[in-house]
Every structure is written in structure tokens, then in C-alpha cells.
């Protein structure tokens, strides 16, 4: 499908995280011709490895006023434009006996200054509205925190960029920046699917590579000093809490419990790692111990709740001081105009910030691009809803419109996952309604929709789009059913077998640090099915 696409664009965006996808959308909405390139899949960097907290900004109110103010503003915008990606759960900042209750008033004042609404709750009342909270709490403040699904948010931005004409290439890795004297004019790409090299040209090249932006800048011959801070998280098998639960103290390890869909997440740790380790995202037993120990203080039931997976991500922070934990660094947005900074024109970097503030980051980057290209068009991303949001003005024009009727489990789940876009999932036919994944209610129709419309190249991508294999059974049998369907869209079924093997390995990575109890029983079962009965090997061709 990419055979006849143009080789020249106004803007080439490197990175398919939320920042890249958001910038592609903004640029495309302002009428620019856009190419986005991503080395793996959408949301495989920090965007797919974070906490999914729709910050109210309260966490930063005391330590970082500017970030706090940005957060609350973007929080309110995302509730509007991306309501299919957001759960408006609210959050509690709790004070435990070991914490200083005096911090609470300082916290409430700082929130007020940043424009964040707070409500001090009586501990009794807090226990009533959030029964999972540590009953020993001595203070609680309610704030407008929420949860955000980073995969869905990124895909909605990418889809809208495509609706506005952008071209999106996944599995395309930037290996070099094409330069002409002091100007960046294009990118050298390696296509992981075809194993071929290809060049594309653009008037402006945007580095939205997250922590990898350090390396991408180097390819362009400029230097950004990035500060890789690894954070680990645990996903629990069911949703313990209704509201986000935070500790009311200065930000520290493992002090946020975020609910989302059917699960909840505790995080994060923070540890400085060498740059050459940023692709090695293992979680140690020590990390797991800290997360459980601190998590139980927020909600004691976590001690007996099944852990599904552990994972880690790297925060794309730009080095500012020598803080070894990387915590007191500003979470602020970093927009670098390399023409001014390094004398390299046609190249800009947008990084730092947060998932929360991706839209603002995209807006600032696009403003700069428009200025450089002398395009005079206002940003509209704060007003126009994303496709899939209830009030979206952009129904997907690509699929034939089928009416979304009935309300069986797969349709309901699909609606939760894709918002109003679920109507593009063909249904009504018994075959298409058949369930691929029972725990997450994913139907054949939804899998096909994802394969055809959402840039799915393999089972791991599919999991990011549809939650196939994300539920409590962790993909034991549904992965195999999905592989069967993916197989139909592959040229070589042999590839689907390797894909299945890769999927199992990838899933194993997340389970390794937490595999005991039910986890070890299930992994033994999975191994017997796939390796024993099916005869699957790591390499099947």
C-alpha cells in the first residue's frame, strides 16, 4: 500500500509515540504534507510504557509550578477532545501516619495557585468513597486526576493525521539524516519488513524520538544531552481502586496507584541508567519488592492481588542538573530549534513533557514549523475532537459505514476501546461476531478492523490495538486464534508462526519478574500447549 507514496513532504516526523502522532495530526490539520516514520510500532517507546495517569497537575504543584499549570489545562482539554481515551476517575492524595500532615496545606495552596481544584476530605468520607484505600489514612484531598489510555490516544491522533492526509510508516527506522551543507533535507530509512533502505525528503525534519532523540540528534550531527531515567510499574489482574490514589508528600517511589479498564497499575520507581541500556527494559526483583511494599501502603488489598505483568519505560528528560534520581528535574516541554541552537536548519526536536502535555508539545512544535514555512494557520487541536470521541466531527471516511447496533459483549468492549469508531467494525454477521479473546471480548470483526485500518503488522501490535492477550489469561489461547487470523493477511503463514513465538517471548519478558503463584501455573500450561502440543519453536521457518 506504500508503493506509490510521494518521496517529498513539508514535514517528516520521526517517532510514533504520542508526541510524534500528535505533531503529525497538528501539522496535517494545518494543511502541511506530512510523513511520520516509526521504527517499530506506534506507542512502543515511553508512550506504551507509562502509568496512564491523566495528571491533574497536583503531583507537581509544590515542586514544579509550571508543569502543574500545564497539566491542569491539558487535562481539561483531553477530557473534551479525547473522551474515549479518558476515564474521569478523580484522584485522592492521602496522608498516612508516617507522613507529615503539615504538607497537606502547602499542597492545597500550591494546587490553588496552579488552578487545580481541591477538596479536603474527612478520612472517614475518603474511606467511604474509595473503599480500597489504606484505612489508616489521616488525611485526604480530592483532585481532578484521571486515567488515560496511551495506546488509544496515540492511535486516535495517528488516525486523524491520516484522515488529514498524513502518510504513516511503521517498521521504518531512521538510520541517517540527509544533509545539504547546513540544512537537514531528508531521512535515510531502513524498512524492517522488506529489509530495504529508502530515502524521503522534507523541508522540516522533526525529531520526536523520545529518549532515542539523543541518538537521532547525533545522526544529524547535533548534541542533546538526555537523561535516561528508568521507571518500573506493575499491572494487577483486577481493578482494586475506583479513583487514582497518590501519597500527599513530595514525589517519591511507587506512590501512585492508577486504575484503568479492568486493571490497576502501581508505579513508579526511578533510576538513572546509562544511555546504552535504554533498549534493555528489564524489571528487577528489587523493583518489584519496592513497588509491592509501597503499593500496599496505598491499598492493602494489593498484597493479595494477582500481578499480571511488570514493565519499565524510560522518561525522555533533558539533562539539566546532577540530580541522580532524575526527579527534581522539570518535567517541562523542551522544543529545540537547531537552526538557532546549532546552526543546522530544517531540523527541530520536541521532547521532555509528558503524555498529558503531548498536545501542547505538538502545538508548540507545529507553531515553530509553520513559522519556518511561512504558513499562517491557527492551531485547532484544542477544539476539534479526535476520531472516536463522542462529539467527533471526523467519522472515519475509509471504511464503509455499517450501523452499530445491538449490544453484545464484543460490541460493548469494542466501543470502550475505539469509541464511536467502533461503528467501522463490521458486524451483524455471526462469523464476524465470534470471539477471539474471551477475557477481553475481542471479536473477529475487531481483529480484522485493526489489521486493515490500524497499521497492525504482528500479534504484539494487535495486542496494543485491541487488548487481545491483555486479560487475565494473558493470551494463552486467544493469541493462537488471533495468529490464525493474522495469518490470512500475511503472505507467508510461516511468518505467523514466528510471530506467535515472538509474542510468547515478549509476554514472557513482562511476566518474568513476577512469575509465581498462579503465574507460574499458567506459564507451565502455556508452555505445554504451545511447545508441547503444537510443537512451536522460537524459529519455525
Amino acid at each position: 500500500m506504500n508503493k506509490n507514496i510521494s518521496k517529498e513532504y513539508d514535514v517528516i516526523i520521526i517517532g510514533g509515540g504520542v508526541t510524534g502522532a500528535g505533531t503529525a495530526r497538528d501539522c496535517a490539520m494545518r494543511g502541511l504534507s506530512v510523513l511520520l516514520v516509526e521504527r517499530h510500532d506506534f506507542a512502543t517507546g515511553a508512550t506504551g510504557r507509562n502509568h496512564g495517569l491523566l495528571h491533574s497537575g497536583a503531583r507537581y504543584a509544590v515542586t514544579d509550578h509550571e508543569s502543574a499549570a500545564e497539566c491542569i489545562k491539558e487535562n481539561m482539554i483531553l477530557r473534551r477532545i479525547a473522551n474515549h481515551c479518558v476515564e474521569e476517575n478523580d484522584g485522592l492524595f492521602i496522608t498516612l501516619p508516617e507522613d507529615d500532615i503539615a504538607f497537606q496545606s502547602q499542597f492545597v495552596d500550591a494546587c490553588k495557585t496552579a488552578g487545580i481544584g481541591t477538596e479536603i476530605l474527612d478520612p472517614d468520607f475518603a474511606r467511604r468513597i474509595e473503599p480500597s484505600v489504606n484505612p489508616d489514612l489521616i488525611g485526604a484531598v480530592k483532585v481532578p486526576d484521571g486515567s488515560v489510555d496511551p495506546f488509544r490516544l496515540t492511535m486516535s491522533n495517528a488516525l486523524d493525521a491520516r484522515i488529514h492526509g498524513a502518510v504513516l510508516l511503521t517498521q521504518h527506522e531512521v538510520k541517517g539524516i540527509v544533509k545539504e551543507q547546513d540544512r537537514a533535507i531528508g531521512v535515510e530509512l531502513f524498512n524492517h519488513e522488506t529489509k530495504q533502505n529508502v530515502n524521503y525528503y522534507g523541508k522540516i525534519i522533526v525529531n520526536a524520538g523520545g529518549i532515542w532523540g539523543h541518538h537521532i540528534a547525533k545522526l544529524a550531527g547535533v548534541n542533546i544531552n538526555m537523561f535516561p531515567a528508568k521507571g518500573s510499574l506493575l499491572i494487577f489482574g483486577h481493578r482494586v481502586n475506583k479513583m487514582v490514589i497518590n501519597r500527599c508528600r513530595k514525589p517519591s517511589n511507587a506512590d501512585i496507584l492508577v486504575p484503568g479498564d479492568t486493571i490497576c497499575l502501581i508505579g513508579t520507581t526511578s533510576e538513572r541508567i546509562p544511555y546504552d541500556q535504554i533498549d534493555n527494559m528489564f524489571v528487577s526483583r528489587q523493583d518489584v519488592d519496592v513497588l509491592i511494599r509501597e503499593g500496599v501502603k496505598l491499598s492493602p488489598t494489593l498484597a493479595t492481588t494477582r500481578i499480571l505483568r511488570a514493565y519499565a519505560g524510560v522518561r525522555p528528560l533533558v539533562a539539566a542538573d546532577n540530580d541522580p534520581s532524575g526527579r527534581s528535574i522539570s518535567r517541562g516541554i523542551v522544543l529545540l530549534d537547531h537552526q538557532e541552537r546549532d546552526g543546522l536548519s530544517g531540523f527541530i526536536t520536541i521532547t521532555g513533557g509528558k503524555l498529558m502535555t503531548y498536545r501542547l508539545m505538538a502545538e508548540e512544535a507545529t507553531d515553530l514549523i509553520c513559522k519556518k514555512l511561512a504558513v499562517d494557520k491557527q492551531c485547532e487541536t484544542a477544539e476539534k475532537s479526535l476520531p472516536g470521541a463522542e462529539k467527533s466531527e471526523h467519522p472515519l471516511s475509509i471504511a464503509t459505514e455499517k450501523v452499530y447496533t445491538g449490544a453484545n459483549i464484543s460490541q460493548k468492549s469494542a466501543k470502550d476501546r475505539h469509541g464511536t469508531l467502533a461503528k467501522n467494525i463490521l458486524n451483524g454477521d455471526d462469523y464476524e461476531d465470534s470471539l477471539v479473546c474471551e477475557c477481553e471480548g475481542v471479536s473477529i470483526a475487531e481483529v480484522k478492523y485493526a489489521i486493515n485500518e490500524l497499521h497492525v503488522n504482528n500479534l504484539i501490535d494487535l495486542r496494543r490495538r485491541t487488548r487481545v492477550g491483555m486479560g487475565t489469561c494473558q493470551g494463552e489461547l486467544c493469541a493462537c486464534r488471533a495468529a490464525g487470523l493474522l495469518c490470512e493477511s500475511f503472505e507467508k503463514p510461516g511468518k505467523a508462526k514466528d510471530d506467535l513465538a515472538n509474542f510468547l517471548q515478549e509476554r514472557w519478558k513482562g511476566m518474568l519478574p513476577i512469575t509465581w503463584g498462579e503465574g507460574i501455573n499458567e506459564i507451565q500450561f502455556t508452555s505445554w500447549i504451545y511447545e508441547g502440543i503444537y510443537g512451536l519453536k522460537p524459529d519455525n521457518n
Partner: protein
Amino acid sequence: MKFDNIIIGGGLSGLTCGIKLAEQGKKCAIVSSGQSAIHFFSGSFDLLGKLNGQEVKNPLEAIKTLPDAHPYQRVGIKNIARLAVEAPQLLDRAGLQFSGKSDQNHFVLTPMGIMKPTWLTIDDFTRFEQNDVFPWKKAVILNFSGFLDFHTLFVQDGLKKYDVDVQIKNFAMKEFEAIRRNPSEMRSTNIAKVFDQGEDVLNEFAQKVNQLSEGFEVVILPAVFGLFTKNVVTDLKSMINKPLVLIPAIPPSVPGIRSQILLRKRFEELGGTYFLGDIVEEGTFKNNRLVAVQTNNHGNIKLEADQFVLASGSFYSKGIVATRDKLYEPILGLDIDGDIDSEKWLDEKFFNDQPYMHYGVKTDSGFRALKNGKPIENLFAAGSVLGGANALKEGSGAGISLLTSLHVAEQILK
């Protein structure tokens, strides 16, 4: 309540051990908490499929080179050879026809279209004597439309390696409309139930198969026939006018469930008592002997016996339990052969030889379970609750279960 022998666990080992004891006139009870591995099995029992990463041709020969701690070595090579002949006979008396040789592996076609070496195969399935020849050149794979648990494309892809011309056809039948309407109902056991219900459906189906397979030499179908009786499979084979190759679908396995049902039936017909859905919670020991066990359903009534067999399975069946920092045998607190350091349990590559797969209950050379370093005189361990081998990597799962359980039964009968 008093029995001659009580067996904890009603999987393949517990049932075959119980059948052998009951055949010799012992008054036996099996207490089983639930599903066993046989619900999921492929249709074949493995003896030894792989050694040091190489496929094994002659399991009996290869077994001689296994380390001393391996359960097969503890049974003894001579005993293995003898019991390997006895096992299929015992199964046959239960109405389960398995065939194969212990000194020469045959091959079966897996759902991925791969030829896998094995020992005994239930007669639903086709035995291949060579792993590089598929005896037919033109094959048709038929599948029920909407049935996602059978991977026609994988099978087709696998058969290409044997130069087979394979076509895939999907078809619908009105009898399946009802189960297809509910998106989670189109599973192998539900399809099998439809065929179990009446000959008419099977007739109609066979006619359809004959039509669709015209011009082909062989028909390939998912193994979704005969949940409660084997007759469905036999009838189907006689109605189809050419060779029929069945391939396992995504578990649960229809032939597996049937095997479990028939083994239990045989045990009960021999006078055995089968407590289904009951959990053994603890035991009472006296002078290095287990005198009685307590179960969930029997409350204060203790179950007493002269000899006990622990056949409670591996992690998957909760015969062995791992918590964050502890590895233990949960029923009787027996000694475990396994690493204390939890960081050593797992390997970071899914397909590598996982250390935890070797873990199990420690026994002496006569399969008496050890507690605090001492063998319990009248308590034997059999099947996958034993340590000392990675049965998955070796392809020795059912072999270990069958042969250790028959061996233990002989120890008891001595």
C-alpha cells in the same frame, strides 16, 4: 473411612495407578480436586522425544543414557521395557486403543503442521512412520466456518514442506447455527456435543465431506468428534470414502476428555471409589507413616489407608506451589527437589529449558516421598509431581506419568 490404597490426584498417573491396583483386587480410592492435564492432551503419549536437542529414534535405547536422578532411571531400564508393553494393554481394557512402539518413535501431525515424534497415539489420529513423508499428494482441509480453534493455514503451510497440494474449504451446517450465534460457544467440545447427539447430523456431515473432498486423496479435519464415546469417530471414518486425518484443535481436547471419562469409568467398574471435586488438605503422620488424610468435603471423617500415592501433578495442577520466595508441596509438606533461590526458577527466554520445569517432590530410589529428609514408608509419589526431568523439553510427559504410576502400583502390590 478405610481403604487399602488412597491416591491423591485423578490425572493420568492417579487413574492408571488406581486401575492397576483395583485390577489386582485392592480396595482403592482416588481423591481428585479437578481437571487434569489429560483434558488438554494432544492424543499422543510421549516416552522420549528429544535428548540433548536431538530427536530420539529409539526411546528405549536413549533412556539408558539419562542421568541417574531421572525418574526413568529410578524405575529401571528393564522395568521400563516391560511396563511400556503393559501400559497400552491397561488402556485398552479401559476402552482406549493406543498404538505405538517403545523402541521406535512414530510421528503425529501437530496443529502447526509439524511432525512430532511420540510413543503411543490414540486411534482417532493418524500415525506417520517417517517425519519427512506425508503419504498423500492432494489433500483437502475442511473446517466449520466460524470455528477459530483450528488453524487451517498453519496446517497447509506445514504440509507444503512435504510437497502436498492442499486446499482449504470452510463450510456451514444448520446444526451449528445455534452455537455460532453466541460468540464464545463455537468451541470444540460444543461441536462434539452436536455430533454426539444424533446419527443424522453425522450422516449429513459425512455426505458433505464426501462432496467437498471429491478429487482429493485425503481429508483433514479438526479432532472434534466423540466426547463421550469413540463410536462417532469410528462411524465417521466408515462413512467417509477416503482416508481421514484428524488434527488436534485448540484445547480442551475432545479425545482427552473422552480418555479421562473412560479411565474413570474403568476404575469405578473395578470397584474403585472416585471422589471428584474433593481436595486433600493435610495428612496425619505417625512413625514415618502416613496414617490418614483429611479432605475438604469429608470434614472430620478421616480417610485411612495402608498405602498412599501422591499423584497431584506439577505446578499447573497445584501439586507443587511457588510463592514469591517459597517452593513447596502444599498437601503433606514433603521435601522438594528444586532451587531455594527464587531468582533461579526462571530463564529469561520462554523457549529455553526452564529450571522450574525440573522441580518436584523428592523421593528415595523406590519412589517413597521424603519428608524432612526421611522416606515415608507407605507414601509413594508418581507422575508429574516428581522432579528430576523437564518432561516438556524431553517429550516424556505421559511416559513418566504412566510408567512411574504402574511401577509404584507394583511396589505396593509386592
